[in-house]
């Protein structure tokens, strides 16, 4: 027997919507087996992972808090991936955005600066992320260097740069030698939406970005250009679209969104700059982008779902002693299934007896 792919004459909308759901179902089956292998009750574990966090208000807020950076980063990445350029360094752009915005918070710390500080920090964060993302984009456009490798290398550089800042020049003198900046002032902090809660203004910003991305992709020429350049580069050249300019644009936008997510995370839930501000948001966002089928609304839903796995994973570690790495395994397996199921949208898959092969071997 062998696998044969037959290109579908037209795209099936039903399968396009069903494929992420099939992928999630297959992932859950695989997880059930993994839990059993680890000697944990699969039912109890799946419950802790996926149902428990949905049952109390605190966890629900926490899901929204975790989904905020994921959705924002993934929206930017989806623009790149639609245009067939591969920014995989969003993690680094997130960190640099956090650093750029924190600079102002550190500089104004303890002064009587007014309410302009937070907006200025958000702008700086987005700017920092965009400029950092432009490094691999310019290397690609000017010199033809693979953006995949350069953008990834810059993640390590950003991580070390942040580490240097919080251990060196920006360390809180009253922080007992911990590698962290001083706690940000109230004017440099993203306000929470519900008094005493965790949900913050960032969630609203993320929703606004979802709306903006929908308009960009669905209603503007630029959005159309992005999709044509990605799907049919030859047609795009004949159409006179400037592919290089689009590489710069998609990288800058995705970097800006990742940077914005970074400064919101630092000025919001965390409240100061320190190493380890991201549990891999930049990489998980890649999964969010694909699970959401590179569609803004899909990404919103996918972001909430993956945020759920972060929260569920933490709870499973606490209550069932399930290793935290299982969440990463889960995310990796999910991405595999998502990609495999995406193939169903383009192709019909048939199993053929092997002896048929001779008939069209040399075509």
């Amino acid at each position: 027997m062998r696998l044969v792919l037959e290109r579908r004459a037209e795209r099936s909308t039903t399968i396009a919507i069903a494929s992420p759901l099939i992928a999630i179902a297959l992932t859950l089956v695989t997880m059930t087996l993994l839990f059993a292998l680890l000697g944990k009750s699969p039912v109890a574990a799946l419950w802790v992972y996926f149902i428990d966090p949905l049952t109390d208000a605190y966890s629900l807020q926490e899901i929204a808090v975790k989904a905020t950076p994921l959705v924002m980063i993934a929206l930017g990445l989806s623009l790149c991936y639609l245009a067939n350029v591969w920014n995989i360094g969003a993690e680094g752009q997130f960190l640099i955005g956090a650093v750029a915005g924190s600079w102002l918070a550190v500089r104004t710390n303890g002064t009587d600066a007014g309410h302009w500080v937070l907006p200025a920090m958000l702008v700086l964060g987005a700017l920092g992320g965009a400029l950092y993302a432009l490094i691999p984009a310019i290397c690609k456009v000017r010199f033809g260097a693979s953006e995949i490798l350069t953008s990834l290398m810059l993640v390590y550089v950003a991580d070390l740069f942040l580490d240097y800042l919080v251990r060196g020049p920006w360390r809180d003198p009253k922080g007992y030698n911990f590698p962290t900046t001083a706690e940000f002032d109230p004017v440099a902090t993203v306000p929470v939406l519900i008094e005493g809660g965790r949900l913050h203004l960032g969630a609203i910003i993320a929703l606004a970005v979802v709306a903006a991305a929908s308009v960009l992709l669905g209603r503007t020429i630029k959005g159309f250009e992005i999709r044509v350049v990605g799907a049919a580069p030859r047609a795009a050249r004949f159409g006179g679209f400037n592919a290089n300019q689009l590489i710069l644009l998609t990288f800058a936008v995705s970097g800006a969104l990742a940077g914005l997510a970074g400064i919101i995370e630092v000025a919001g839930p965390i409240g100061h700059l320190q190493p380890g501000i991201s549990p891999g948001y930049g990489f998980t966002a890649i999964i969010v982008a694909f699970l959401g089928r590179l569609h803004p609304l899909g990404i919103l839903i996918a972001g909430l779902f993956l945020a759920l796995t972060f929260i569920g994973g933490e709870q499973a570690q606490i209550s069932m002693r399930i290793p935290l790495d299982l969440t990463k395994v889960f995310q990796g397996i999910l991405l595999f299934y998502v990609l495999a199921c995406d193939s169903l949208v383009l192709y019909r898959i048939r199993l053929m007896p092997t002896h048929h092969r001779a008939g069209y071997g040399t075509g």
Binding site: L154, V157, D325, L326, G332, L339, G361
Partner: protein, 306 residues
């Protein structure tokens, strides 16, 4: 042992995992497939290699476990990208994410344990030669293996019929298919070979480089191996000095940190990554007009028509 000797020995040890992983990826890319999952396969090789060596007390079995782990991951990659025609970039990323998670899961029980590192093979008499003796004739088995592997690869790619077929498949899969060569089978073999090499390269880290396992101990070496293939312009010979150059950068920055030159240690630690970016830019720019030594079908999906 003098300082220079010690540094050169350290450079060789630091370069070997890069060389092994990059050698595998070079064959994969020569077949027209871009597997970005090297980092994931390496870290799985490290975790499984350490587990195997710790449980059996044998470096050889550890190495074999590492190879098996790398191949298992690469088999998933082959199934998706070759069997189901999925985008290779995205699948490679998935492989890395999965590998990092799985290795953490497998390695968790072994963190803090130690093993006996792979012994250095002293060639009688030759290794007693002053200076060169220690460097050339007293390395561990992996070092010799990695160099032998490069030689064998060169011979295979340029001197055998199947090497020619491999290059044909990578340069124009449609023509190779039309000539009756089993494109997908050849690519699958190449991908599995790449997985084996990456797994071995990863296993080298806990088996010979440091005698213990730390989660995430590959620290981006898989990505540097990918960059090395570009640096080498897909030529096996150039891979050797590329790998040793990178090994040298990473060792020299450690020594510079130790010497305390007043440069922030983080800047020194970032050097290998910055060097990779610089090299990619310079190489890509130099190649510019001679439009790329890359295999022409690299990264493209191939679905045989029926």
């Amino acid at each position: 042992m003098g300082l220079a000797e010690a540094i050169i020995l350290a450079v060789v040890t630091a370069s070997t995992p890069l060389l092994l992983a990059a050698a595998g990826e070079l064959v994969v890319e020569r077949a027209g497939v871009l597997n970005l999952g090297v980092e994931g396969m390496m870290i799985m090789g490290a975790a499984c290699g350490f587990a195997g060596a710790y449980l059996t007390g044998s470096t050889l079995i550890g190495a074999l476990c590492g190879i098996a782990a790398g191949m298992a991951l690469s088999a998933i990659f082959a199934l998706l990208t070759l069997g189901l025609a999925v985008n290779q970039v995205a699948t490679g990323l998935a492989l890395t994410i999965l590998g990092i998670g799985l290795s953490g899961l497998i390695g968790a029980g072994f963190v803090g344990e130690k093993i006996v590192p792979a012994p250095q093979l002293h060639l009688p008499l030759l290794s007693n030669l002053p200076f060169a003796g220690r460097i050339l004739f007293a390395q561990d088995a992996f070092v010799y293996l990695s160099l032998a592997l490069i030689a064998a690869m060169w011979w295979f790619i340029y001197r055998t019929r199947w090497g020619l077929v491999l290059r044909a498949v990578g340069d124009n899969h449609a023509s190779a298919h039309a000539l009756g060569y089993p494109v997908l089978t050849i690519r699958t073999c190449a991908v599995l070979f790449g997985g084996a090499c990456a797994g071995l390269g990863g296993a080298y880290l806990p088996l010979a480089y440091t005698p213990f396992f730390i989660p995430g101990m590959t620290a981006g070496r898989g990505w540097i191996a990918l960059a090395l293939v570009v640096f080498a312009s897909w030529l096996p010979g150039r891979l050797v000095w590329g790998a040793y150059l990178f090994g040298a950068v990473s060792i020299l920055q450690l020594h510079a940190q130790g010497a305390g030159l007043g440069i922030p240690s983080q800047l020194m630690s970032a050097l290998p990554y910055l060097a990779t970016i610089m090299v990619l830019v310079v190489i890509s720019r130099a190649r510019g007009s001679a439009r790329s030594a890359a295999p022409a079908s690299l990264g493209m999906v191939f679905v045989p028509d029926r």
